[in-house]
């Protein structure tokens, strides 16, 4: 009984905090359902006649962001895939294998992420310009990988370090090859971590603005630039902006939901492993 009451109290408390936290988002949903003229009404009104026009405009209208969504999706997905392919093995090596100069190498990886992005715009513009890669998908992906790779490596390192050493030793006793150990023993253990890394890598590429603006152009238009369709020089169309912003959040949330399932699976496994099955 005691535990149940405790659970209920904790859940209520956590829910309350969470709701307050995402209040601005709840408010943007309201805004996106209002007509422009009501958005700025004061005192702010909670009761109004909702309309789906803003969403229609953002998808079908002249200010449609659909093609930009496609561009962002392509870039973010490929960036994430390549990043995962490169970072997970690297993280494993840095976290658990015996490698000379491991610590220094690890710090180098971390340090590459510390270059202020604003200082990178011009050099990258130069390089991409020289290769004719401005306003191309591969140009953007390469630039984004520069940021996501160190980030992903270090996230994965943290998660991999959590696994008890005994895992690999047990595998060795079973005469498993190193590659097999990595693939079949270690990776399932960090499923949760991989999911988290995937979500954040995807999201960083998705929401990036500074490089998106300067290095893309006509053919490649990430969705962060499309937001400005609604923040035109003359006025800000708040309702449509919120509608567009919410639509732009959907792909990432979907990835998050998919990832969530894996996190749950991974964590349940971990709990069982840690508690009993050994």
């Amino acid at each position: 009984m005691n535990k149940k009451i405790r659970d209920y109290t904790l859940t209520t408390l956590a829910t309350f905090i969470m709701l307050i936290w995402i209040l601005p988002l709840i408010w943007s949903v309201f805004v996106s359902l209002k007509s422009e003229i009501e958005v700025l009404a004061y005192p702010p009104n909670i009761f109004f006649e909702p309309t789906l026009n803003n969403f229609k405009d953002a998808i079908f209208g002249s200010l449609s962001i659909v093609s930009e969504l496609g561009d962002s999706f392509l870039i973010a997905t490929i960036t994430t895939i390549f990043t995962l392919l490169l970072s997970i093995p690297a993280a494993y090596a840095l976290a658990r294998l015996n490698l000379f100069g491991k610590k220094k190498l690890g710090f180098y990886v971390l340090a590459t992420q510390m270059i202020p992005p604003m200082g990178l715009v011009i050099p990258y513009y130069l390089i991409l310009g020289k290769f004719g890669w401005l306003d191309t998908y591969h140009g953007m992906i390469i630039v984004y990988m520069t940021f996501s790779l160190p980030f992903a490596i270090w996230l994965m390192v943290s998660f991999m370090e959590d696994i008890p050493r005994e895992m690999e030793e047990a595998a060795f006793l079973d005469k498993a090859s190193r590659m097999k150990t990595l693939l079949y023993i270690i990776l399932p253990q960090v499923k949760g971590g991989i999911a988290v890394t995937t979500i954040f890598t995807f999201m960083n590429a998705w929401n990036e603005f500074l490089f998106a603006v300067q290095l893309s152009g006509n053919k490649v238009r990430p969705v962060t630039i499309a937001m400005y369709n609604f923040v035109s020089v003359e006025q800000t169309l708040w309702a449509k902006l919120c509608a567009a912003a919410l639509i732009a959040m959907i792909p990432v949330i979907l990835i998050g939901i998919i990832g969530n399932n894996h996190i749950i699976k991974g964590l349940t496994l971990g709990a069982v492993k840690g508690g009993g099955r050994k």
């Binding site: 408390l13 005192p43 490698l99 690890g106 990258y124 390469i142 490596i153 929401n207 708040w238 749950i264």
Partner: protein
């Protein structure tokens, strides 16, 4: 065991090389270019002055009052937001840890602020939330009798507001990572502690904290880097204003390089930011793992 450890080494090198190679190729030129530029006079508005400047830019940087002001502000901003993110994130993670059934819901809600584009976050907070007499937050504070405040117009309040906005958006990151980490800790350690009648607080400080210390340090390093390079949200919210009250070093470097087209000096500022970041990170990194 010699062959085995050699095998291990070559395997490790195999795994790590692609990433290192990519990073070497893509970051070496830019950083060299940046350092080279910092020693040059590159000002687009006065092309005749362009040329080698030696240490001039660096000397000017140390004499620049705006730079020191920005530097102090950046430290305040970074330390505040990272500490808040960590504390709140950890607190929430511990809280939610005890309710495994509803965790997925909280994880989902937590992702939402991070997913919103920083540009939109800045704009949204500026106009719809914080504008005195027009925004929601102001509406609330007035309704509960706290009165109206010039959230983004009063210099000190503006700093508070941008810290608030940044913390709002990024705490969920610390929350999610810590939650994942805490949940994967082996529970037999806790069982042993419980049998020893250790109190919850003791369990936390002596078992949990040391175990998640590496994760915490990584979070601190990463969030600090993000805080240092924060641009889109602050720019949308205040443009570094009022005056220069919220102009963190990154924004100042941006203004110098792009708005004032003085790229040489802007590079100097950027190189210095890099230097400070690496130094601080190096210290944190060295205490990351107690072997």
């Amino acid at each position: 065991m010699n062959t085995s450890s050699q095998q291990e080494k070559s395997f490790a090198i195999l795994l790590v090389s692609p990433s290192i190679l990519v990073l070497l190729i893509t970051t070496t030129f830019p950083i060299l270019y940046l350092i080279w530029s910092s020693f040059q006079n590159i000002n687009l508005s006065m092309p005749l002055n362009d040329g080698f400047a030696g240490l001039e830019n660096y000397i000017e940087m140390f004499k620049d009052k705006q730079y020191w002001k920005s530097f102090k502000l950046t430290i305040v901003y970074t330390v505040s937001t990272v500490s808040l993110q960590l504390l709140i994130g950890l607190g929430l993670a511990l809280l939610v840890l005890k309710i495994p059934k509803a965790q997925w819901l909280f994880r989902l809600m937590a992702i939402l602020p991070i997913v919103l584009a920083p540009v939109v976050v800045g704009l949204f907070w500026r106009t719809l939330m914080l504008t005195p007499d027009f925004g929601i937050v102001d509406f609330f504070t007035q309704s509960i009798g706290l009165g109206s405040y010039a959230w983004l117009s009063e210099p000190k309040l503006a700093v508070f507001s941008v810290i608030l906005i940044h913390t709002w958006q990024w705490t969920p990151f610390a929350f999610l990572v810590l939650l994942a980490s805490l949940a994967s800790l082996p529970s037999d350690l806790y069982e042993a502690a419980k049998i020893d009648r250790a109190s919850a607080l003791k369990r936390f400080f002596y078992i949990t904290l040391p175990l998640i210390r590496p994760v915490i340090i990584i979070i601190v390093i990463m969030r600090s880097m993000i805080a240092l390079s924060a641009y889109a949200a602050i720019y949308a919210a205040t443009r570094g204003g009022p005056g220069t009250a919220t102009e963190i070093l990154n924004l100042y470097a941006y203004r110098t390089s792009f708005l004032e087209v003085n790229f040489g000096y802007g590079s100097t500022l950027a190189v210095f930011i890099l230097f400070v970041t690496i130094s601080v990170a190096a210290v944190l990194y060295s205490i990351r793992r107690k072997k």
